[in-house]
């Protein structure tokens, strides 16, 4: 009879058992490999921080060719989309836009009077000649309508060009434009505001130059201003997927490895199999390493899968060293598996373990810079993010994949991950050993 069983034999037995169990559990396999796939596609396609086509209503109180020109000009770059009483127009003006399915107003084609409209009022695009005749009548109604559109969400911005707008401009007086923006989505509001401001800054510049040219005896060269030409590196298209996918990869690894590890051990405790294993002479460290190894493999598979999808579906570049990527993934996995283990030592049931995993994963994701930049967090919270392994891994991924950053750029993150990983695993193993059952 073997007095001191070989650790290698024990370790291999655990790895074999754990692998077989995972491989035989179809649902688990789907969760481990199919889930990440789905999440990646969903995040890649759905999460898009680029703001464009902000639905905008224009209240043209001026009703001149100039005011209409400006309204169209505002929509020209596609950031804003002109919505007119249920119908949108893409800057061009003459072309009919798609009919929006909004219930606010069933708009008739441009020329026909709005007979079927529930409110009985003509849309803002109502027959121009009529409006020009009854000048005063055009004003108040569309303003109320614009207000309603902002409230019910048909529009996120309203631009009000008051009566006399072009006259003021022509006289060289200051013309006023009111822009009302729905601020419920701050990001969208900022972008929409910037688009309007940008347009009118350009218009003002043009007017100013024109006026200077008129006043000057010699033709103005109209130069001498500061010209700003931004050049965007690494992601010139400012596409969201290349930015998002590294973050999603890091999230996936947490969800797969942390939660599954925590639940796996909790299940063994629940089923009583853990007790049966603990009466064998197997050492806790050997047992845990054997249990974790298959998940390290699965973690790598998930990362590889995510990279492949990123590359083929979302044009994610892989500019940096792959060895660095693998090393970072490995040290990151130490942390995520360690946390899973730690959670399993403080939970009695699978439900508790799941909840524990979730309670770790959520703040870890939110404080990682995946969704929102860390620099826009309050200082004390920024300090907390330094304790978040996810943060370092996301930094490594983004820098490595998008910028091709190398070992010398990223060694601090790697060291941080290694320290966290080894530390957490050590604490978890100690706790596991202490409260064996």
């Amino acid at each position: 009879m073997p007095r001191r069983p070989s650790r290698r034999t024990q370790f291999l037995a655990v790895v074999r058992k754990e692998t077989l169990q995972t491989a035989r559990d179809k649902r688990m396999l789907v969760m481990l490999l199919g889930g990440p796939l789905l999440q990646l596609l969903v995040f890649g396609y759905a999460v898009d921080f680029k703001v464009d086509r902000v639905p905008t209503v224009v209240v043209d109180g001026d009703q001149t060719s100039e005011s209409r020109e400006h309204a169209r000009g505002l929509m020209a770059d596609g950031t804003l989309r002109w919505v007119k009483g249920g119908k949108s127009e893409d800057g061009g003006g003459s072309r009919n836009g798609r009919r929006s399915s909004s219930s606010a107003n069933v708009a008739p084609p441009p020329v026909t009077p709005s007979v079927g409209a529930t409110s009985g009022s003509p849309g803002a695009e109502g027959p121009a000649p009529l409006d020009r005749l009854g000048v005063s009548g055009a004003g108040p109604m569309p303003v109320a309508e614009a207000d309603a559109a902002l409230v019910n969400g048909d529009a996120a911005a309203a631009i009000i060009l008051p009566k006399g707008f072009s006259r003021d401009l022509a006289r060289g007086e200051t013309a006023h434009v009111q822009v009302v923006i729905d601020g419920t989505d701050p990001n969208r509001a900022t972008v929409a505001g910037a688009a309007v401001a940008g347009y009118f800054a350009e218009v003002s510049g043009d007017l100013l130059r024109a006026r200077l040219a008129q006043q000057a005896t010699r033709p103005a060269t109209a130069s001498g201003g500061i010209s700003l030409v931004p050049r965007i590196w690494f992601n010139p298209g400012l596409d969201s997927p290349p930015f998002m996918i590294p973050g999603v990869m890091a999230m996936l690894v947490i969800i797969v490895t942390t939660i599954v590890t925590a639940m796996g051990l909790a299940r063994e405790r629940e089923m009583g199999t853990l007790e049966q294993v603990l009466v064998t002479p197997i050492r806790p460290s050997v047992l845990l390493l054997g249990k974790l190894l298959p998940y390290v493999v699965i973690g790598f598979l998930d990362v590889a899968l995510a990279l492949a999808i990123g590359a083929y579906v979302f044009d994610l570049p892989i500019r940096g060293s792959r060895a660095l990527l693998a090393a970072a993934t490995f040290v990151y996995l130490l942390s995520t598996l360690g946390v899973g283990l730690l959670i399993s030592t403080i939970s009695k049931t699978q439900q508790q373990a799941f909840l524990g995993g979730f309670l770790f994963a959520m703040p870890a994701i939110l404080l990682s810079g995946v969704m929102t930049p860390i620099r826009s967090m309050p200082l004390w919270l920024q300090a907390v993010t330094y304790l978040n392994p996810l943060r370092y891994y996301v930094e490594v991924l983004r820098a490595n994949l998008l910028k091709g950053a190398g070992w010398s750029d990223l060694w601090t993150q790697l060291v941080a991950l290694l320290v966290f990983g080894v530390g957490i695993l050590f604490v978890a193993t100690m706790r596991f050993r202490k409260r064996a059952v």
């Binding site: 001191r4 070989s6 024990q10 037995a13 169990q21 049966q276 009466v279 002479p281």
Partner: protein
Amino acid sequence: MSAPAIVARHLKKRFGTFVAVDDVSFEVERGEIFGYLGANGAGKSTTIRILCGLLEPTSGTATVAGHSVAEDPEAVKASIGYMSQKFSLYLDLPVAENLAFFGGAYGLSGRALRRRTEEVLELSGLAEVRDAQTGSLPGGIRQRLALGCAVLHQPEIVFLDEPTAGVDPTARRIFWKLIRELSRGGTTVFVTTHYLDEAEYCARIGLMVDGRLVALDTPAQLKRTHVPDRMFAVRGPNAARASGPLRQVAGVRNVEPFGAGLHVRAEPGRCEAQTLRAAAGAAGHQVEVEPIDPTLEDVFLAVVGRSAKKEEDGA
């Protein structure tokens, strides 16, 4: 080596204010089948878990297979097999994989593992189900597999915690045949059970009541010590009605219904079968009276009753 397989000295385990095991001391000889009896919550499983190194005792010491449980738990674990109260093998793995895993955990590999796997499958009659998923097997077969996993590494001692709970009588019988075979092969068996008929198979029995070991001896000696009275079985068409007249017979301590008949307990030497038969006959009831041996059930009831009474008196 003739040192005892298990030595427990003043074991005590306290959970909060509850004392699960209270000053328990005993020795188990090598190769013997040691039965550990008691009601639910009497401290049987706690004792086993202490001896297996799963639980640290609050005080007291235990030596198992010559190794101190506190100082060298790994050596203890390598020398024992354990089968818990709850079935605790992997239900999602085939029979052979469960054996392979536990074999590996005990350090068996390669040819040794294959040889032992075949032996265990053969011994426990599981050869035909070796590839079946464990969860699909009936309880009796699962228990045999659990025993198989516990003895794969040929331990000196096996601890079986209520191995036959919830198993049908046929399966129980097969299981006990296996236990006796193990014992014959030199393995010490420490077994807890609810079934008092099973306890008869044990060489010695320890009786636990409320965390204390209140009796420990061979089944025969236990009966003599704790049920010194003579027992008679009374049978007949009207046996039940004879209970009144039988109570009047000098020396009769107790008459209790048992099945369709009665069990009479009498002071030794004061009454014989004929006396009882005559007394019943005189009352107009024709009965058969036969001296019987007390069962362990009688012992159990006598001991538990006495402990309960002591407790009441003490309170």
